[in-house]
């Protein structure tokens, strides 16, 4: 089931706001026109009209009515439905002319032919060449001329030219045969010219056609052009007959009969072509499946390619141009900030409908994700356009989500790196504070103690005092030692002063098993890199000594120019699981935060290898 009123496609439009309302109105109007047609036909029948006339009359009018209903139902975005329904009603108005009843016949004769005016209007609407103004002036001129003919027929013509034996025209307030004839001839001549001009507009449209999508409109326009030809011919015939009293084309039967039937067919061509066009484009949404399937493969979303997709690697804009058959189509994307960017990513003005360049918003009118600026002719394919808009909307929303996700990810990565750097700075600060604060105070205390000891030695102090002072000195020394180890564990000063090599050599020295160290570092590296590498080696060696039962370990640290590669191997029994305990896992997290990685290969009986790589920015 089509929903021409889908959200996002109804913006920037000058047609009835609610398709449901226009459908209801169209249904009511259809019922009304049908009743009117029925009444007219009953009157005809009662007047003894021949069956062939009744048939032609019924079929012609009802064709317009049915086409109007179909158009109103499936094409609520263009006013084709109301116009076609009006055509049907106007057709039956004209039908009262030969009915042979006073008043009704005069009115019918005066208002005969207006459906051609409506048809011309529809044709110009569908071609919409060169903007609306010129087309409207043509229709306005046509309407004015037809009104003049109506005035002539209604107010000046008496008796009506409806055949012999007609009663006087009750509306003929200014009955005057020469004026009536003059108006009839002039207005019909002008009408013939104007109908030809309207037809010419349609012909120009047919010739200028470049948009694939407009092909669906071609039969309708062609039919409209033919109908305009027929209308021009009838107007010319009226002028001719009024001026000369003879027929313009006087054919003997049965040629005359054939000619009349041809005119009848001509009139019904437009509604028939219109219904055919609607029915044809109804099935177009089928091409959406491959487009939807290819969404993952179109540029910009970069997903797994779909096998056999016709749109693989295409940009979203190219895919839309291809599916919609409008090479002039432009896809603009709406940014969250309310600005718009072109397919190339450059800032552009907000899209607007200008002339034939129609704008269809993608997304809700309040928060669009993008828009198509396309040929107005695409409105003939609402199901297709609606489908493409829906698919592209998904793609654009995906793009937005991807971008938002990527931005979030970037932010998380950046903030993780900042956190690691801040932690590093914090550790260093802590180490400095310990040395300059607590440790310094301990040294001062030791000096004071030393002074006390020499005083005690020089005086008559009890021997106990010297012993207690000695014990105190030992305590102070032990406290200094512990504080020193604590500070080194937080952040070794030698790492800051002498670099990674000296710090790792120190680690190896203090290890409980022999550790072979190979260093290929010729320069100082960023502090966060040095400390991460240092703590990785320290943690790996700690694990080796604690759990692996190894007799020997090897540390290799190499600066490759763009990164630091670290490898710590031992000959133990393994057991260094990065998922176990927080040591290696925490270091792995630190590595990731710096864009590096940490791997632990547990060779069980063949020792453990901890390898890591830290990029150097």
């Amino acid at each position: 089931m089509a929903h021409p009123g889908f959200p996002g496609c109804a913006a920037a439009t000058d047609v009835p706001a609610s398709p449901e309302m226009s459908r209801r109105a169209a249904s009511v109007a259809t019922a009304g026109v049908t009743l009117f047609a029925f009444a007219t036909l009953v009157l005809h029948g009662a007047s003894g009209a021949p069956t062939s006339f009744l048939f032609a009359e019924a079929v012609t009018g009802m064709t317009f009515v049915v086409a109007g209903l179909v158009a109103a139902w499936y094409r609520p975005t263009i006013p084709a439905g109301p116009i076609l329904l009006a055509c049907g009603a106007l057709w039956y108005v004209g039908g009262y002319a030969p009915i042979g009843r006073p008043v009704l016949a005069e009115l019918g004769f005066a208002f005969e032919g207006y459906y051609d005016l409506a048809l011309g209007f529809l044709l110009l609407l569908l071609t919409a060449l060169g903007g609306g103004l010129r087309s409207l002036s043509l229709i306005a001129a046509l309407a004015a001329v037809m009104a003049a003919r109506t005035v002539g027929r209604l107010l000046f013509l008496d008796p009506p030219a409806l055949g012999p034996g007609y009663p006087p025209n009750p509306f003929a307030l200014f009955a005057d045969q020469p004026t009536a004839d003059g108006l009839e001839v002039l207005s019909n001549l002008a009408m013939a010219v104007l109908f030809i001009l309207v037809g010419a507009v349609g012909v120009r449209r047919l010739m200028a056609d470049g948009v694939v999508a407009r092909r669906a409109r071609r039969p309708i326009i062609a039919a409209g052009v033919l109908a305009m030809g027929g209308a021009a011919f009838r107007a010319a015939e009226y002028a001719w007959a009024t001026a000369t009293g003879t027929l313009l084309v006087d054919l003997p039967d049965p040629a005359h009969e054939v000619f009349q039937w041809s005119l009848f067919v001509l009139r019904t061509l437009v509604p028939i072509a219109f219904v055919a066009g609607v029915l044809r484009t109804r099935g177009e949404a089928g091409v959406l499946a491959p487009l939807a399937a290819s969404l993952g493969t179109t540029a910009g979303s970069g997903d797994v390619p779909t096998e056999g997709s016709a749109f693989r690697g295409m940009s979203l804009g190219d895919a839309a141009r291809r599916v919609l058959g409008d090479p002039s189509l432009v896809l603009v994307r709406a940014r969250q900030a309310g600005t718009w960017v072109s397919e190339a990513g450059l800032p552009v003005d907000p899209p607007r409908t200008v002339g034939d360049r129609w704008t269809t918003l993608i997304g809700t009118p309040d928060t669009p994700v993008g828009a198509f600026v396309h040929d107005r002719a695409l409105l003939d394919h609402p199901e297709l356009l609606e489908g493409v808009v829906a698919v592209v909307r998904l793609a654009l929303e995906n793009e937005r989500l991807d971008a938002a996700l990527q931005a979030q990810l970037d932010e998380v990565v950046a903030s993780r790196a900042r956190i690691v750097a801040a932690t590093e700075e914090e550790r260093r600060r802590l180490e400095r504070d310990l040395h300059d604060g607590a440790q310094q105070r301990l040294v001062v205390a030791m000096l004071a103690l030393q002074e006390a000891r020499s005083l005690a030695a020089a005086s008559e102090a009890p021997p106990d005092l010297a012993v207690r002072l000695d014990a105190l000195a030992e305590e102070l020394t032990a406290a200094t030692r512990e504080l020193r180890e604590l500070a080194r564990g937080i952040h070794p000063a030698i790492l800051e002063h002498e670099g990674l090599g000296a710090a790792i050599t120190g680690l190896a020295r203090r290890a409980s098993i022999p550790v072979e160290v190979r260093l290929d570092i010729e320069r100082r590296l960023p502090p966060v890199v040095e400390s991460t590498a240092y703590f990785t080696v320290a943690e790996a060696l700690t694990n080796t000594q604690r759990y692996a039962g190894a007799s020997h370990a090897m540390v290799h640290v190499a600066d490759t120019g763009h990164g630091l590669e670290i490898e710590v191997t031992d000959d133990g029994i393994g057991g260094a699981d990065p998922g176990r305990g927080t040591g290696l896992r925490g270091l792995g997290d630190r590595m990731h935060a710096l864009g590096g990685e940490l791997q632990v290969r547990d060779g069980h009986d063949h020792g453990t290898t901890v390898s890591a790589r830290i990029p150097i920015a």
Partner: protein, 218 residues
């Protein structure tokens, strides 16, 4: 012989005064005190003292003391340098030694709780020798326990090796170990033989040989 003249440098006034007091009571003459590395360098250039006692951690930065000490070692080889450090890192000591152990010392600050240790180190340095903190030497010795040569030493021999590395005189070592100098000389010949080192009669070169041996990674 005139008194041994000393410059004491530490960014903490209290520590500076404490160190100066110990040295003064021990018979050294304190000719100047400095609060940062630059001041110390200027004073040493001007006064040419026998000894500079400096904190390793001094402005500028957090390693100005060590840098200035190295600078003095380079510019004024006759000036003894004793670095007081809170870092048990042999690398600092090894760097300070450079190519010789003449008139140089690296002592952990915790030794300040015993005046004699500081004075002993100061005297050894001004006498042309060296004073490496026992804890630093111990770390070097323990790091070498993987070495077959070291494991061949007896505990007593290892003690003697450490004392040699610390820069003590033969007499001091013999006293500490409670043996005669003759016995010690025999023991050190055995130690050097076991380590595959050439026994050098020059004390400083002997110390250096031992320290370099200990620091050699493998």
């Amino acid at each position: 012989m005139s008194e041994l003249r000393v410059v004491v440098a530490d960014d903490s006034v209290v520590v500076r005064r404490g160190v100066s007091r110990i040295l003064a009571e021990g018979g050294f003459e304190i000719v100047a005190e400095a609060g940062d590395a630059d001041e110390m360098l200027a004073l040493v250039s001007a006064l040419r003292p026998h000894l500079v006692v400096t904190d390793i951690r001094m402005p500028p930065g957090t390693s100005g003391g060590l840098g200035a000490a190295l600078e003095i070692r380079r510019l004024h080889p006759a000036v003894g340098v004793l670095v007081l450090s809170q870092y048990l890192e042999p690398d600092y000591a090894i760097r300070l030694l450079g190519r010789g152990v003449d008139r140089v010392g690296y002592l952990l600050k915790e030794r300040l709780s015993d005046a004699q240790e500081l004075l002993d180190a100061a005297r050894r340095i001004t006498a042309g020798g060296s004073a490496i903190d026992p804890a630093v030497v111990d770390e070097l010795v323990r790091a070498r326990r993987r070495d077959d040569h070291i494991s061949r030493l007896t505990d007593r021999e290892r003690q003697a090796l450490a004392l040699i590395a610390e820069g003590h005189s033969n007499r001091a070592i013999a006293e500490r170990l409670g043996i005669t100098i003759k016995t010690l000389e025999g023991m050190s010949s055995a130690i050097f033989a076991k380590l595959g080192l050439e026994d050098d009669p020059d004390r400083n070169r002997r110390v250096l040989a031992v320290l370099m041996y200990l620091d050699d990674p493998m």
